[in-house]
């Protein structure tokens, strides 16, 4: 049982650090400290830098433009970026492309698909939206109704997908669609890549409770895509989708635990800045620090499993439940520390929605803390609700019996 990284990995860490020290200005305080104008300029050059250094997708094979790194080195990159307060993903669509679509195509795609989509995803010529959920099938991943019918050498798609993060910034969507309506629920699905730029695709932004509009809904009305754009084989969509969800974990866990720890330090600084010093709040902060430690340990463990090449088990549900419940807890603590300041948020806006703010956000920005408080709420719903995760653990890990299914034909009970 060895919890230290190898010397090679530590040497690689030193390399990343010196690379960052060269690239970043001396007075660097973290990406979030930049003004919108500075940020725009930074993002442009930073993404180019990442592509040049093969750091945008450190784990992809170098033949397709990736960094060719093993998962441990990949994890080191992510950790050092979090520590330095620089983004690993620059465009809003990059997380989807780099952590979901890319690995899926690399795993399941044909050589032609890899050759076509991977470089274009890296260059941002293609920017991805995720298309799993549907208005009528939220938690029920395999209850999707969007249908695709082969018409010559094209699929014709009808239906709609919802909850695309940064969906309005994308120009392609990968979607779980029903290609065989006769097959049982999960068996008739396929994983299809569909370009936005056609009359049959309409994208509408969804305004969310925090006032932002990062999410989108995508409607397909006889939308078309080449028959070549089906990944993993017709009827294999459920399998592809499940692998894809597995890709979400592994390399980013340690960086996330670190970002979460830095967030707690910012919260401590906020307490100091507000002159709030209450024993209960201090203990709640310490309890959060304990949880962050738990997540760090879990991340180390997940990294070990991922590095061993073993397939991710449904135990990854643990990380999902822990992190999403934690984000509610820590942001509830934040608004309790704000006290009345939560009523009238002021200060620097939040920079990201899905996790702790990057370095550079002012500790005393109540606007950012309140935004985090709101952003934390859907965490226990999207990507598989806490209820679904607990079902998964109960049934797939612990082997507990499923619930009786409703009698399909007539109204049950």
């Amino acid at each position: 049982m060895d919890i230290k990284l190898s010397d090679a990995a530590e040497q690689y860490r030193a390399r990343v650090r010196s690379l960052l020290a060269q690239e970043l200005p001396a007075d660097w305080r973290g990406i979030a400290a930049l003004s919108p104008e500075e940020r725009e300029q930074f993002d442009r050059t930073w993404r180019e830098f990442l592509v040049e250094q093969s750091l945008l997708a450190p784990g992809w094979p170098s033949e397709y433009g990736g960094g060719g790194l093993d998962i441990t080195s990949h994890s080191v990159v992510a950790e050092e970026f979090a520590r330095a307060g620089v983004p690993q993903h620059v465009l809003l669509t990059d997380p989807v492309g780099m952590t979901l679509l890319g690995p899926t195509v690399l795993h399941w795609g044909t050589e032609a698909q890899k050759q076509y989509f991977i470089p274009r995803t890296l260059s941002a010529e293609i920017r991805w939206a995720q298309g799993y959920s549907e208005p009528e099938a939220g938690s029920d991943l395999f209850g999707v109704r969007t249908r695709a019918v082969l018409d010559g050498d094209e699929w014709v798609v009808n239906g709609s997908k919802i909850w695309q993060t940064a969906g309005a910034h994308a120009n392609w969507i990968f979607a779980l669609v029903r290609t065989d309506p006769e097959a049982p629920k999960a068996k008739g699905l396929s994983f299809l890549l569909i370009p936005y730029d056609q009359p049959g695709v309409e994208v509408r932004a969804i305004k969310t409770m925090d006032g932002g509009a990062e999410l989108a809904e995508v409607f397909f009305d006889n939308a078309r895509t080449s028959a070549d754009n089906l990944v993993g084989g017709a009827g294999n969509g459920a399998k592809v989708a499940l692998t894809l969800l597995g890709f979400e974990r592994g390399s980013g866990g340690i960086a996330l635990a670190l970002a979460t720890k830095l967030e707690l330090l910012r919260l401590r600084d906020a307490m100091r800045s507000f002159g709030v010093d209450d024993v209960t709040l201090r203990r709640r902060l310490a309890d959060c620090w304990t949880s962050v430690h738990v997540m760090h340990c879990l991340a180390l463990r997940n990294l070990t499993v991922a590095a061993s090449g073993r397939p991710p088990g449904p135990e990854s549900s643990i990380s999902k439940v822990m992190m999403s419940e934690y984000r509610k807890r820590v942001t509830e603590l934040a608004v309790d520390i704000l006290g009345p300041r939560a009523l009238t948020p002021t200060g620097m806006p939040s920079k990201v929605n899905l996790g702790p703010q990057p370095l550079g956000v002012d500790a005393d920005s109540s606007t950012a803390w309140v935004a985090d408080f709101l952003h934390a709420r859907p965490g226990t719903v999207y990507g598989g609700s806490s209820e679904i995760q607990r079902n998964t653990i109960g049934e797939q890990v612990l082997g507990l019996p499923r619930e009786p299914r409703p009698v399909p034909a007539t109204k049950a009970g």
Partner: protein, 386 residues
């Protein structure tokens, strides 16, 4: 002992429910929320002229309806459930108790009729800089000069502070704190700045006084009166929170009963059903706690200590029960609940905001703790505790 609503009160609640349903539906709510409107004067006139809501608890002698705190809480539950944005809560829930309980006879005669008629809106700038209610006038100083009193200092998180016609606040004087009234339309040295608010249906403002002319309106009974007034305001706020619970319950149950996933209404899954049951428990218990406090408040024999204790208990409970309920609501609603379009988040924000409007739940719990400290021991001699 009949811990229940009268027939009249049930009718009143039903009338309010259908009034708000008809007059303050999703479109009007959208208008407020989407366009940052503070309130709609036409709707205000309807509430005031047609239903006489603002004067509900004002004595008939002063042009009101002479209703009790129970009646007010019935109103505020329905008003809160409908998420109405208007000066009603600040005026009837905060300013009226202050004026009635701590104001002298002159100021009551002068202002109660105007407020009851709806001509004048009012608020009470009650929070101190730490977020706890300030009854000692720490944040604002009052000075008596040749031309009368002036105020200097500031108040934050003032509900309807940017629009209220009349603004009450406790200010310190060399002789101790007093209650002061500022007429906002004419007062010099008054700055009122509307602030962004977590809850878009509650309009908040920063108010700064710089030698601002003010009337001292507190009578001799002010110290006790202010404690009573704050307790009444706290109970009124809990009724608003109860509205949040009541709305969240109906919304959660209705969604759980109709939304189908995995071939079943989600309300048939125990995880969802039990959440709904928890929202029901929180709503029902909060209702009887709020109306217990309202009944105490409606009884002239209730002393200030007992009223304060009831207010702290009620507020501490309503803060936690309403937050649990809205959190459960959002989890039941799933994705749709996080969209701006769906009103679910408004209950979430309301519950979060309300729990800070008159002191945090820790503030109230610490006050309860002091009550426990002061209680006599139960142990020695059964006669002593009788």
């Amino acid at each position: 002992m009949t811990f229940d609503f009268t027939e009249d009160q049930r009718d009143f609640a039903a009338m309010l429910r259908s009034f708000f349903d008809a007059q303050y539906g999703p479109d009007r709510l959208r208008e407020v929320v989407d366009h940052g409107k503070t309130y709609d004067p036409t709707f205000w006139r309807t509430m005031v002229d047609d239903l006489d809501l603002v004067g509900l608890t004002v004595a008939e002698a002063h042009g009101g309806s002479g209703g009790s705190t129970v009646d007010l809480c019935i109103l505020l539950e329905e008003y809160g459930r409908a998420l109405v944005t208007s000066p009603l809560f600040a005026t009837a829930g905060l300013a009226l108790p202050a004026l009635t309980e701590a104001g002298d006879e002159d100021s009551r005669s002068r202002w109660l009729p105007r407020i009851a008629s709806g001509a004048t809106t009012a608020t009470w700038a009650v929070l101190g800089s730490t977020g706890a209610p300030d009854l000692t006038g720490t944040g604002v100083q009052a000075t008596q000069g040749a031309a009368g009193w002036t105020l200097s200092g500031s108040r934050s998180w003032v509900l309807d502070g940017a629009t209220a016609d009349v603004l009450l606040t406790v200010a310190g004087t060399p002789a101790g704190p007093g209650l002061f009234l500022v007429e906002t339309a004419t007062a010099d040295g008054l700055t009122r700045t509307a602030t962004d608010a977590l809850d878009p249906t509650l309009a908040l403002a920063e108010v700064a006084f710089t030698d601002t002319p003010a009337q001292r309106i507190s009578g001799d009974h002010a110290p006790d009166g202010l404690r009573r007034a704050l307790a009444l305001g706290t109970i009124a706020l809990a009724a608003l929170q109860l509205g949040c619970l009541s709305g969240a319950l109906d919304m959660a149950v209705s969604y759980a009963g109709t939304r189908v996933q995995f071939g079943r209404p989600i309300g048939s899954f125990q995880a969802v059903k039990h959440r709904c049951a928890d929202v029901f428990i929180d709503t029902e218990t909060t209702r009887w706690v709020v109306f217990h406090a309202a009944a105490l408040a409606s009884d002239p024999e209730t002393g200030a200590d007992a009223l304060e204790e009831a207010a702290h208990l009620t507020s501490a409970y309503a803060a936690s029960s309403s937050f649990r309920a809205v959190a459960n609501l959002l989890q039941v609603l799933g994705g749709i609940g996080y969209t701006w379009e769906h009103p679910g988040h408004l209950y979430f924000k309301r519950a979060t905001a309300a729990a800070r409007l008159l002191g945090s739940s820790t503030h109230h719990l610490d006050a309860v703790s002091a009550v426990i400290d002061a209680a006599p021991s139960a142990a020695p001699g059964w006669g002593a505790s009788a």
